[in-house]
């Protein structure tokens, strides 16, 4: 390497100061100006996170938010060259360090996953989209799932209620998050475990409702196949209308 070890260390010392604020012992021409580097970097990080997690930002008190930002900057080695993707690393950091327990905010992990999911689905790279050949659903038609989607399993209904209220209703919640093919807008749907099973099977095998039904009834121990078929047909028809399920 052409760069000398000493120069490398100087650069790493400066970078370290920007992350943790501990003033370095290096020779600089304008000590008064050094703080602006840390300030500018912190502005980039906090502005990026406030944009990606606006509800979390509003919910946490300012000290908690500042603590998250400061500790993330100090402890996390940011890997993505694209700052707009950094919220994913931030979400992983917050969840892995169990800040929800530290702040006594049990819904924090759910909320931060939910908010990142919205950004992620909105910006998912474009792929070849299936042609919509028909909007007339019948149980025997092969189905394909809109490629831009994710199913979130949550402990708290933070997609329906403000976080403090959601925290009082611990349970199992499934939210289907998808991007509209026509507009690019992100939408959310409350779904049941039955729906999760159905959508997962369709996503894996591009099969019809009729193909999934026997397995589904078996797994969920449902005896009246006709009733299940009627219920899921209504669901599938609505999903076809929304172009979440695509008839191929």
């Amino acid at each position: 390497m052409l760069l000398h070890a000493e120069t490398k260390e100087i650069q790493e010392t400066l970078a370290s100061y920007c992350r943790n604020g501990r003033v370095p012992s290096i020779n600089i021409s304008r000590p008064d100006a050094l703080k602006h580097y840390r300030r500018l970097i912190r502005n980039v990080i906090t502005n990026t996170m406030e944009a990606a997690f606006p509800i979390t930002y509003q919910w946490l008190d300012l000290n908690e938010w500042d603590q998250l930002i400061d500790e993330f900057m100090d402890e996390h080695d940011s890997q993505t060259p694209s700052v707009w993707k950094l919220p994913k690393e931030f979400a992983q950091y917050v969840i892995s360090r169990n800040y929800q327990q530290l702040f006594d905010k049990p819904a924090l992990n759910d909320l931060i996953r939910f908010e990142w999911c919205e950004v992620e689905i909105h910006t998912l790279e474009d792929v070849a989209e299936p042609d919509v050949v028909s909007l007339e659903f019948t149980a025997d038609k092969k189905l394909q799932l809109n490629p831009y989607h994710q199913t979130l399993e949550l402990q708290f209904p933070i997609h329906r209620l403000v976080a403090n209220e959601a925290q009082l209703q611990k349970g199992n919640y499934f939210v289907f998050v998808y991007r509209e093919l026509d507009t690019g807008k992100v939408r959310f749907l409350d779904i049941s475990p039955l729906h999760v099973f159905l959508l997962k099977k369709i996503n894996q095998h591009n099969i019809s409702l009729a193909d999934v039904l026997p397995d589904l009834c078996n797994v969920f121990k449902l005896r009246d196949v006709d009733v299940v078929n009627k219920h899921l047909s209504v669901f599938c028809r609505d999903m076809v209308d929304k172009k979440i399920l695509i008839i191929t």
């Binding site: 052409l2 120069t7 021409s29 304008r30 100006a33 602006h36 996390h76 694209s82 474009d126 507009t183």
Partner: protein
């Protein structure tokens, strides 16, 4: 040569580029990092403006001066992006934004030292060969030098001489640095390797203390920077000029006026029987 004046493409006013018939930059500039890997709504916007305007790219995260290894995966993404949008000019900053395996998302000053010159020149060559297009290097604003063993001017001169790279001359950065570090901006520019200048940036800045300016790209260009620009273009052959505005976005009419003023200056100097007066 017709004077080309462009502007940075920003999401805050993306629709103006598409819908406003009064808003007609000659080209647009964007940071590939802000668009690589993005699909959906914003990808469609990008594709729409790419059909309307030529694109130049100005990177943020290559970190040419970094002590860390070059990120070849990232470089591959950049190359694909440049090819996809037929980008003729790809520029980066003479700074570092990554160290100790962590991105910092801002432009830190490289120690002005000979080993840093050698290190950067070698990396410019690698990038140049990999991308199969020149890497244009921008003089950056800096608020303090760090363990310097030569001047900023000497550092830039040596990097350009050793690497043979083209220079993106950011006139506002020269103004900011001249103010902050108390040197003569015109003398500085006159001593740059001006034959290597391929591109010019112009921007506004913010004075945060009586003796300190921060390069924010969040204000209108001030008259002394226009004057320095006028001085500079007399020393150069025609190159594209870009107006940078990243924050505190004003009414589009104000941006149009700024671009018109830049265009008027370069037209006077470059289209009316231009002569390099060095």
């Amino acid at each position: 040569m017709k004077a080309q004046v462009g502007i940075g493409f920003r999401r805050d006013f993306a629709d103006e580029f598409i819908d406003n018939p009064e808003f007609n930059p000659d080209f647009i500039e964007l940071a590939p990092e802000n668009w690589i890997g993005m699909g959906g709504y914003w990808k469609k916007k990008l594709d729409t403006v790419a059909e309307k305007y030529p694109i130049t790219c100005h990177g943020l995260s290559l970190s040419i001066g970094s002590p860390d290894d070059l990120d070849m995966n990232f470089l591959k993404d950049v190359k694909d992006f440049l090819n996809r949008y037929d980008v003729k000019i790809y520029s980066e900053h003479l700074s570092f934004s990554k160290a100790a395996n962590a991105h910092l998302y801002d432009l830190l000053p490289i120690p002005f030292r000979q080993d840093a010159v050698d290190h950067i020149a070698a990396r410019i060559s690698i990038v140049h060969d990999y991308l199969k297009r020149p890497l244009v290097i921008e003089n950056v604003s800096y608020y303090t030098s760090v363990e310097a063993q030569m001047s900023e001017l000497e550092f830039i001169q040596k990097v350009v001489a050793k690497s043979g790279c083209q220079l993106l001359l950011d006139v506002n950065n020269v103004y900011v640095n001249a103010f902050n570090h108390q040197y003569d901006a015109k003398a500085f520019i006159s001593q740059l390797p001006l034959d290597n200048v391929a591109y010019i940036h112009m921007a506004g800045h913010e004075k945060v203390a009586p003796d300190l300016i921060i390069d924010t790209h969040g204000e209108a260009i001030i008259d002394p920077v226009y004057d320095l620009f006028d001085f500079t273009v007399q020393l150069l052959h025609p190159v594209p000029v870009l107006l940078e505005r990243d924050f505190n976005i004003p009414e589009t009419s104000e941006l149009i006026l700024e671009m018109e003023r830049l265009k008027s200056i370069v037209k006077n100097r470059w289209e009316a029987g231009y002569a390099v007066t060095r």
